[in-house]
Amino acid sequence: MQPFSIVSGPAAPLMRQDIDTDVIIRIEHVNVPRAELGQWALEPLRAPGFVLDQPMFRGAPILLTGANFGCGSSREHAVWALQGLGIRCVIASSYGDIFFANCFQNGMLPVTLPETAVVSLAEQAARGANVTVDLRQCIVIAPDGTQHAFTLDPVRREMLLEGVDELGLTLRSATQITAWQREDALRRPWAIPNSAGGGSVNTDPLM
């Protein structure tokens, strides 16, 4: 996973609220190889003159957008499709919970700022001026030099800065997980599927 520290460049203003993951990547493209998803990103919005197709925003690393971005389906393809456009950071006032979590699995930074700050950034960025996102200091620097501080969970911030994957960390706890499961089987025997107190399930539990 590519570490994230500072990203600077054009910030495409796509100021609509409630852009859902069905709009970010249509379901029929989920079989498309990950590296090729970018061409289908935000397809329903791509009328002539669409902001991300304008030459100054092609490959822009930052997306400025409306509230509740990424609501809807859990498809992680939404993050991959945005990455396929070159986007590394989204700035909005709120996000769908699952999309927000998916970002961190892929080195994408979702910055949360008040709606007024996002609107102000969008106005300034509209002509292609550079916006800077500094994850080390947790600030967004507008083209006019205004600094917008944002907060991010410190654990998530650290993982982005280092480009670390969650699974690698958890695998180190394998012994602890097995021990917990052993105790839990005594505490809650009923939680084991189809169990009269500790049985097990074969691959055809209804037969």
Partner: protein, 465 residues
């Protein structure tokens, strides 16, 4: 300190604290479907890892399979590979796979409760945002992305931070012609599609106590459209009665112990929530969406709103875009708007009680000429139970197609789409731009409203039927 239902389940699943408010949370049940399950198992293998607890995983094809009568895994050719991958990889991993045509197959969130896979007090995940449906039984169930699916397959855990907590309290009785679906749409319309972002939602109050379990599943299903990834109703006697005797439910001593444990899963009277809302169900009208977000709702006898009346510029623009997409004018009456398609199905509304609701409306009447009307039962169990009540022949006689279980036209990942520009009344949960197919215009409604609209050939008020 006072604790909530949510606190109790959460705390009971913490394997270890990771610092900074993060925990390693044990996952008791993992549902896999064709769209994300097979690719995740392939990804796991490519990392040289194996499935940690295949006995806690359950798989069925639903998203990318055809619902055509007589279908098999190849009928929808673009989904054939996803189907085969899920079937083969679950077999190799020793994971229960409920194949097409056999008992247990269906939409994951319909089959899991009815097989007893979903249990109160458990944690459950699936690579599908509507996993919150299972919260209707008092499970802590939520949707996850592809990376997290692989994480759970490999470790049976997730790294999670505790969400904030929200409670929605329901009073009163649901009026004639109104269903839990109308209540859910009404609540989303009143609170907004982002009201639950970052929160776990407990649905509570006398309205929940008197709500049948299948209604609670519908209510929790729609909760992700409030922005919350998990929602639940604390289990009660009705929940235990629902679970008892299901194929994978505990039996004997384990059952007795389970029921005792579940009885303790309650929110203390003095517990505090970060956010609260309250609704009188007696005041909810039959409700339908007019736009492209589930929060764009109106009473079925109401009118399309005027964007100029919106409270701010962003909302005004969103409403205008929605009206342009939907081909509607401000002030236009919803009732009487001609429809081309009616879809009764999806993890929101494809259970036996939903099909009975629709059947009561159509009995002895016929679908309006020019309307394509489909019933897609949520699972083989539902389909078989409906058969024993004579529902398929009743629907067919009325001019509906009776199809095979799956997600079908809710998700349009299976070739089953509403053509561009055509209008659909759908019992599903999302009216997003293009959700039912590029250019499709979706109105979300209850099975009863959908059935009445099929008869009328236009959006109809079921209270007149």
């Amino acid at each position: 300190m006072a604790r909530t239902f949510f606190d109790r389940i959460w705390d009971a699943h913490v394997v270890t604290e990771l610092g900074g408010g993060w925990v390693l949370l044990h996952i008791d049940r993992h549902l896999l479907h064709d769209l994300s399950g097979g690719p995740a198992l392939a990804d796991l293998a490519s990392r040289g890892l194996t499935v940690s607890r295949p006995d806690l995983c359950f798989a069925t094809p639903d998203h990318a399979v055809s619902s055509a009568p007589g279908r098999n895994g190849e009928t929808y050719t673009d989904g054939a590979k996803l189907y085969a991958t899920l079937r083969d990889r679950t077999r190799d991993a020793g994971i229960a796979f409920f194949d097409l045509g056999r008992r247990g197959q269906g939409i994951v969130h319909v089959m899991a409760p009815e097989l007893g896979i979903t249990l109160p007090g458990t944690t459950m995940v699936c690579g599908d945002s509507h996993t919150c449906t299972n919260g209707g039984l008092g499970a802590l169930a939520f949707g996850i992305g592809s990376s997290e699916v692989v994480h759970v397959l490999a470790t049976q855990t997730l790294r999670q931070q505790k969400p904030r907590q929200m409670r929605i309290t329901y009073d009163g009785h649901i009026p004639f012609g109104v269903t839990v679906k109308d209540v859910a749409l009404h609540v989303i319309g009143a609170l907004g599609a982002a009201a639950g972002v970052g929160h776990a939602i407990e649905h509570a109050g006398p309205g929940i106590a008197s709500m049948p379990v299948e209604g609670r599943l519908t209510l929790c299903n729609l909760s992700v459209e409030l922005g919350a990834k998990m929602a639940f109703c604390a289990p009660d006697q009705a929940t235990a009665d629902y679970v008892f005797g299901r194929p994978l439910a505990p039996v004997g001593d384990a059952w007795e112990m389970a029921v005792r444990d579940w009885a303790a899963l309650r929110t203390d009277d003095d517990a505090r929530f970060d956010k609260e809302a309250r609704f009188d169900m007696a005041a909810v009208p039959p409700t339908i969406t007019w736009g492209t977000s589930p929060e764009h709702t109106a009473a079925v006898d109401g009118v399309v709103p005027d964007p100029r009346a919106a409270s701010n510029a962003a909302t005004r623009d969103a409403w205008q875009d929605a009206l342009d997409y939907m081909g509607l004018r401000p002030g236009q009456a919803l009732r009487g708007t001609p429809v081309d398609w009616v879809f009764i199905g999806s993890c929101a509304n494809s259970r036996l009680s939903d099909l009975r609701d629709a059947a009561r409306v159509i009995r002895g009447r016929h679908v309006s000429p020019g309307v394509q009307a489909w019933v897609v039962p949520g699972s083989v169990e539902v389909s078989d139970a409906a058969e024993s009540e004579g529902l398929p022949s009743l629907f067919r006689a009325a001019g509906f197609q009776w199809r095979e279980p799956g997600c079908s036209m809710c998700v349009a990942a299976n070739g089953e789409i509403v053509p561009p520009g055509q209008r659909s009344v759908s019992t599903s949960n999302r009216n997003f731009v293009g959700r039912q197919g590029p250019g499709a215009r979706t109105h979300l409604a209850s099975p009863a409203t959908a059935a009445a609209s099929a008869l009328a050939g236009a959006i109809a008020d079921v209270r007149e039927y």
